[in-house]
Each structure stands twice: as C-alpha cells, then as structure tokens.
C-alpha cells in the first residue's frame, strides 16, 4: 500500500536560505510519525508543503496520493491541520469556533464530545485572546481533529501543555492512530517521540539524518543520545 504521506527529494528555499534540501521520508496510516530536528532544520516548512500552504521548489509532496498544493475540498476534508501559531480568530470563543469548523464537514466529530475530551469545556466562556498558551493549544488541536481526518499534521502539539494535559493529548493521538489515522507531528521532545511515535524522522539542515521505526532509529540507545549524535555530525 502506498504511504499516506510521501516526501521525495523535497526542496524549498526562502530567498537564499535553503529550508528543505532534498529530504525524502514517508508516514503510514495507523501510525504516529514524529519529525524531530533543531530549529531551522526544515520541519515546519516540510509540513507546510504537505498541508498545501507552500509550493515545493522541487521534488514531491504527496498526501493520500494527492499533490496538496491547490488540492480540492475533498482532499482538504481528509487532512487535519494544527498550525504552530494556532490560526485561531482572537475574538471568538472556542465552542462557536469549533461548531463553525464542524459545519464545513459532512460528518464531523461531535463538538461537545471533542471539547470534553480535550478539557475545552472548562474554559468555554474565554475568548481566544484571553486564553493561556496551553488552552489555545488544545483548541488548535481540536480544530485539526474536528473533521475526523485520515491524516493529521500537528506542529508541536504539546508545547506549553502541563503534564496532565500532555498525557491526555498523547492518549488521544494514540487512539486516533489506533483507528487508522496517519498522525504526523513535529516535536522537540524526546519523551514525546519515545512515548507515542511508531516511526521517527530526524531532520538536520533540511536533510533527513535518520528515518525509520523508533526502535530501528534508536538502535538500543536512548533517542536523545542518537539525536545529538546525528545532529552534531551534521553541524560539523
């Protein structure tokens, strides 16, 4: 079966700065793939190419077999996105926002249930502008999940969450993958990758330093040791 997410020799530059420099990796349905790498390694740029927000300069980005750039509404409905900056309208409250987004899908996740799963009901009266970072993070995650997508792209989904909330999000993402969703997340947390990822991609300077199952990449060591070995090598 073709992978749900395929990146092949992908290149993208901002002016003279090369963000992604010939990266190739893939992610499968029913698995959680964690993309790790230092700041500036090209994680967000790669994910934005996969979300259809950027057009690659060269190479291929394929999601569910489709080129995401200018893809159809049918394709976009199958892909859930959580952006690093959230992308939430600042003057809205979370439940009206989620109900509105749910209305864009034929068969959305019931909003009350989703809000309860993510603890959003506890701050339902707060406008986005007045929310804490962690609260915003949970609403942004809900916006990615509300359409019950087949592929989920999450840019640092648990950054800024307290340990309880983080564990709840991890359980939720594992259960989404268990239901057959392809979950791709970027993270700086080795703990997060080791706790929930099936597969790991390590990017440095826009290239893939390692990719494969968590155990294959770790090779019996801790992910942290392997990561520093790989990223230090690339920077020499």
């Amino acid at each position: 079966m073709a992978p749900a997410v395929l990146v092949h020799d992908l290149r993208h530059a901002f002016g003279r700065t090369t963000a992604v420099d010939g990266a190739s990796w893939s992610a499968s349905s029913g698995r959680v793939t964690a993309v790790l790498g230092p700041n500036g390694a090209g994680k967000t740029t790669t994910v934005e190419c996969l979300e259809g927000l950027r057009r690659p300069d060269a190479g291929e980005a394929r999601v569910l077999g489709t080129d995401p750039w200018r893809a159809s509404a049918e394709h976009r409905a199958a892909v859930g996105v959580m952006l690093q900056d959230g992308g939430l309208p600042t003057t809205t409250r979370p439940l009206p926002l989620l109900r509105h987004l749910a209305a864009l899908y034929a068969d959305p996740w019931p909003v009350d249930d989703l809000a309860a799963r993510l603890g959003i009901d506890a701050f339902a009266r707060t406008t986005v502008r007045r929310m804490s970072g962690g609260q915003r993070q949970r609403v942004a995650l809900a916006t990615a999940l509300v359409g019950r997508p087949q592929v989920l792209f999450l840019d640092e989904p648990t950054a800024g969450l307290d340990p309880h909330a983080r564990r709840e999000v991890w359980d939720l993402l594992r259960s989404e993958a268990g239901g057959g969703t392809c979950v791709v997340l970027t993270t700086h947390s080795f703990e997060e990758a080791e706790r929930i990822a099936d597969d790991v991609v390590v990017l440095t300077a826009g290239r893939v330093a390692a990719a494969g199952s968590l155990d294959a990449v770790r090779g019996g060591r801790s992910l942290e040791d392997v990561y520093f070995g790989l990223t230090a090598e690339a920077e020499r």
């Binding site: 979300e51 259809g52 927000l53 509404a73 049918e74 976009r76 409905a77 199958a78 892909v79 996105v81 952006l83 900056d85 959230g86 992308g87 939430l88 309208p89 600042t90 003057t91 809205t92 009206p96 509105h100 987004l101 209305a103 864009l104 899908y105 034929a106 068969d107 916006t143 359409g147 019950r148 997508p149 087949q150």
Partner: protein, 247 residues
C-alpha cells in the same frame, strides 16, 4: 469517512460565523451603525454644511448609507482581514474544506448581510426624519451600494494583504476620516473645485454622488458606476497579484 460539507453550506456557514462576529463586535458596530446614524441625524437636523440641490433629508440619508459602506466594506474588512492574516486564521481556513475561495465568498456574503442591516437601520432613521424614497431610485441606490461595497472590499483586501496588521489598523482608520470629506457626506459638486474634481474620481466621491443622484431624483448614475467599476477592476487585479495570505 472525512468528507466536506457541500460548497454552498460551507460558504453560508462562514458567512453566518463572520456576520455574528461583526454584529457582536462593539467597536465595529460603533463605526458601522452608530457613527453613520449620528451623521444622518446631524446633517438632517441642521442646515450646514451645504449639501447642494435636493431635499436635505434625502441627501443626508444618501451620505449616511455611503458612510456605512465605507465603514463596513473598507475599514471593518481591512482591519479584520489584516489581523486574521497576522494570527494565521487565513492560513488555517485555507487548509479546511472552506479553502481560500470559500473564505472570500463567505466574507463577501457577510459584508452584504451587514450592509442589509445598516440599510434597514439607517433607512428607518431616515424615514423617521422624513426620508421618502421612490421605488425606482431605491432600487438603483441598492445596486449602487452593492457595487460600491465590492469596490471597497477589494481595496480593503489590497491594504490588509500587503502591509502589517498595525499599519492596516492605522491606515484604514485614517482613510475613513479622509474620505469622509471627499464626497461621502457632502456632494463633490459642493466642494471647492480643486478638491471636488479629484474627489469625484475617487470611490468615495463616485459612490456618494451616485447614491445621492439615485435617491434625490432617481437618476441612473452611469458615470459614477463607471468610476466604481474601474476602481473595482484595478483593486481586484492588484489583490490577485499582491495579496499575501501569511502575515
């Protein structure tokens, strides 16, 4: 399965969401309804400034409706879009089934709904002050208001999509104040010639003069429609060329 809602319901959902946001925003209501209403009452109940030939209440109502369009379609849309662009809302909605086209369509419908509310409120106030429009003139005025809204929305998007949010806020308010004196409330023919002649070629003057013409004597404002169409075409082309979705 993850399927999108039909295109029509996506656009209507976006329009309903945006309309609620616009109508529940106090500052927005102040600019879109309260200030035009105050302008209407002030112009109708006083005798300065000179509003030219025609019944004063007709001219005052036409000016207030023009101001309502500038407030909602230009200043309100520019500020909302500028901040949505900065906070990533435009990017996020672009990844949902709504998409960029649906977002623009939904937003346009929301502007028309708010414009409808403004016409009812300001028209009601005008009627209370003695405004009695003819059916033909009213129909022409509504066509003109829709054309003017399209024109000002394109200019709002041009501003919001090219400069940073704080600058959009400052410029959109500044332009609102400046246009106020360039044919929105007062006919360009009454302005000093050095101001009135260029003002008639601005969207503010063209829209204001057109609405006044239709409501005062039911005339077809061909020339003003032409001016507005040129601004609309230029604005839309510039938006297609220079609008940036990320802040």
């Amino acid at each position: 399965m993850s399927l999108p809602a039909p295109p029509r319901s996506r656009v209507l959902a976006q329009a309903a969401f945006e309309t609620r946001l616009l109508l529940s925003n106090g500052e927005q209501l102040l600019v879109s309804v309260v200030l035009p209403a105050l302008a209407l009452a002030a112009l109708a109940l006083t005798s300065v400034p000179d509003l030219g030939a025609g019944r004063r209440v007709d001219l005052a109502t036409a000016g207030a409706l023009t101001l309502a369009v500038v407030s909602t379609a230009f200043t309100g849309q520019a500020i909302a879009t500028g901040f949505d662009r900065r906070s990533g809302v435009l990017r996020l909605l672009g990844t949902t089934p709504l998409g960029r086209g649906g977002l623009l369509a939904g937003r346009s419908v929301a502007v028309l709904v708010v414009l409808g509310v403004q016409v009812v409120v300001l028209g009601g106030l005008g009627a209370a002050l003695g405004w009695r429009p003819g059916a033909a003139g009213l129909a022409l005025a509504l066509v003109t208001l829709v054309l003017g809204s399209a024109c000002f929305v394109s200019l709002a998007l041009l501003l919001a999509g090219t400069v940073r949010a704080e600058a959009v806020l400052a410029l959109a308010n500044l332009v609102w104040v400046v246009l106020l004196g360039l044919g929105v409330l007062v006919p360009t023919a009454v302005l000093p010639e050095a101001v009135g002649t260029p003002a008639a070629l601005l969207p503010s003057g063209a829209l204001g003069d057109a609405v006044r013409g239709t409501l005062v004597d039911g005339s077809w404002p061909w020339r003003e429609w032409g001016v507005l169409s040129v601004w609309l075409a230029g604005g839309a082309a510039a938006v297609a060329r220079w609008f940036r979705w990320e802040g």
